[in-house]
């Protein structure tokens, strides 16, 4: 019997070049590209994970970081159940931007939105602590004040990436068996799709899906 499926609309926000698309690439394809091209407008991807006896399908909207695209963001965070607000632990400016996004989300997005604050590029700090420009404590403080999940990640090494999504998945109320009916149509879709790279990560991602 198939597991119940819950869809989660998730949006990524954050300054340009902090690694939003790289986080998605690592999560969806378990891959990394050193000089990832900038995202223009927004990119849409999906990924499934198994959480306990549930399947969670993430509908991921990866937005462009440049300020001039910020006016499009409401379209993507509208109705989102979750958001990753990403900053670069070596760029203080990106943390300021992250604060702005958290504020905007609290003001404009759905009331129950789950927000994860994500400090990316910790691999650089692991190599040389002097590169760190945003203290972990400072970010933790913000997360506590604003009721956010908090992770420090590296899309490059993969550190903590799945944990971010699993953390979000665990906080979202999952569908009970009576709500399964809606989810059953998904199987049809999945059979029809052209395969994206599907990661072989048994514990986390359960293969990419259609839409």
């Amino acid at each position: 019997m198939s597991k119940p499926v819950t869809s989660i609309k998730l949006v990524l926000l954050g300054e340009a070049a902090v690694g939003k698309s790289s986080i998605v690439l690592r999560f969806v394809s378990d891959d990394f590209s050193e000089n990832k091209e900038p995202t223009i407008g927004a990119a849409f991807l999906t990924q499934r994970v198994n959480i306990n006896d549930h399947t969670v399908k993430f509908e991921i909207w990866d937005t462009a970081g440049q300020e001039r695209f910020a006016s499009l963001a409401p379209m993507y965070y509208r109705n989102a159940q979750a958001a990753l607000v990403v900053y670069d632990v070596t760029k203080p400016q990106s943390f300021i931007k992250a604060r702005h996004w958290v504020k905007e989300l609290h003001e404009q997005a759905s009331k129950n939105i789950i927000i994860a604050l994500v400090g990316n590029k910790v691999d650089i700090v692991d190599e040389n602590e002097e590169e760190r420009k945003v203290a972990r404590e400072e970010a933790e403080k913000l997360a506590e004040e604003e009721g956010l999940l908090f992770f420090e990640t590296s899309a490059k090494t993969g550190a903590n990436i799945n944990e971010v999504f699993m953390g979000i998945g665990e906080k979202i109320p999952l569908k009970g068996p009576e709500e399964e009916a809606q989810g059953s149509g998904l199987n049809v879709t999945d059979d029809q799709r052209v395969n994206l790279d599907s990661p072989g990560n048994a514990d986390g991602p359960a293969g990419a899906c259609s839409c």
């Binding site: 050193e34 927004a42 849409f44 970081g65 006016s71 029809q192 839409c211």
Partner: protein, 469 residues
Amino acid sequence: MASILGLGESDLTTQLADTNRDTNDLSFLPSFYNDKTQCELKSQVISRALRKKENTLLCALGKSKCGFVNNDLRQKSWNTILNNQLILYSSPKEVNNTPHCDEKQIELDVRRSFGYVKDEVERNCLKKALKQAIVTFFRKYPTLRYYQGYHDVISVLVVVFCLDPKRNKISRNISGQRRKILYKCVEIFSLAYLRDFLMDSLDFPIDQISVIPLLIQDKDPQLFQRLQLDKQKPLYAIASVLTIFSHDMRPDITGANSIIFQIFDLVLCTHSMYTPLVLYANIVLALRDRINKEYTANIGNFDNDVDLVHAVVQKVLMQSINDEAPQSRQLWETVLDRTRSDYSIDPKLEKKACKFINKTSPLRTTASGRPQLEINDGYSLDKLIKKGIVLNNKKKDKVPKDTDGQDWNYDRLIKTSLLVGAASLALGACHQHGSLLPDTMATSHLDLNRIASSVSLVSDSLKHIINSS
């Protein structure tokens, strides 16, 4: 070579110049001519058109099958066409070394460019040329803003102009002369074609993509309904439109005649920023079966229709139109062929578009499908840009009740330069129409349109001047 095969370049020119011939159709060539031979012959005709300065013929060749065939001819052709498209008599400030406010972002994006070029020396050479070209442009026009994706567009020009035709490889040292040509082409292309995207707000490109629903409605009302294009703007088109598809496809550095080069050929030779919008609509139409299938399969998977449509269209396109997609080349060939014959915008549709497109937009001025516009000096261009911003702000503040005419309050300089431009267009069209040389590509049906639209532009401008004085 051509004469050995029994058809000289002048014969081919005459054939191509046949008034009744579809410019995209090379079928009058003997059937034993394969694509390669056709391209070789076409190269000779392009060289001749360049040599003889036959610009109408040159444009007709660029918008027919295979475009400008190779990057050697492309360099020369783009340079000729761009310098004829927008004539800048003087520049506002010749040298400006004050850094532009977007240079940090430019640096970030240039650093992430050309990742697909394996040779490190070549890669660095391209990056350096790209950065210099972009920075030079923005320092000269500080009012304009850089956007992510602009670097993709300029990458295409950089690759074309950095090709060493003798070695068919990227030049490791670009001569000062060549650099100058590149900068000028970047300047004209940005000003004449990309200006909307370089404004202070995303409203301008969003207005442009709002033309796509009109194009789709015209050709497939059912698809229009399904994609709910009466209710939602096709924001999923923004990356393709802002980058004229250069974000979807990388410019090939081995001298191959990539699709992306042929798309740029078509845009330049139609003198129109409508062309990328037509291309986008035609791509969506070509993929309608897949879009419909995905749509049906995913109903119920999304909380709302906006997300459903956005996700479905973006996914189908992403899988179909980029370099990695196996069927991409064939799909593009088909769509390019179609667009080459249906790029012209129906006057009724243009009228509808003009209701929401900013009056200063390239779609209504410098890249509206009309062959030439003279801008007297950089100052009037600067005023045009500022006027565009003012008009946009007014539009945002206003209920869209009266979008036409009322806020048209150009100062006399702009009015005059627009009038001069429109008059010269009208004169140019009349002149061309009346003096067709036997071996020039005849475009009589286009000329009539141009005369009509130029005359209406002149009369519109006159009305505005009368109203506002």
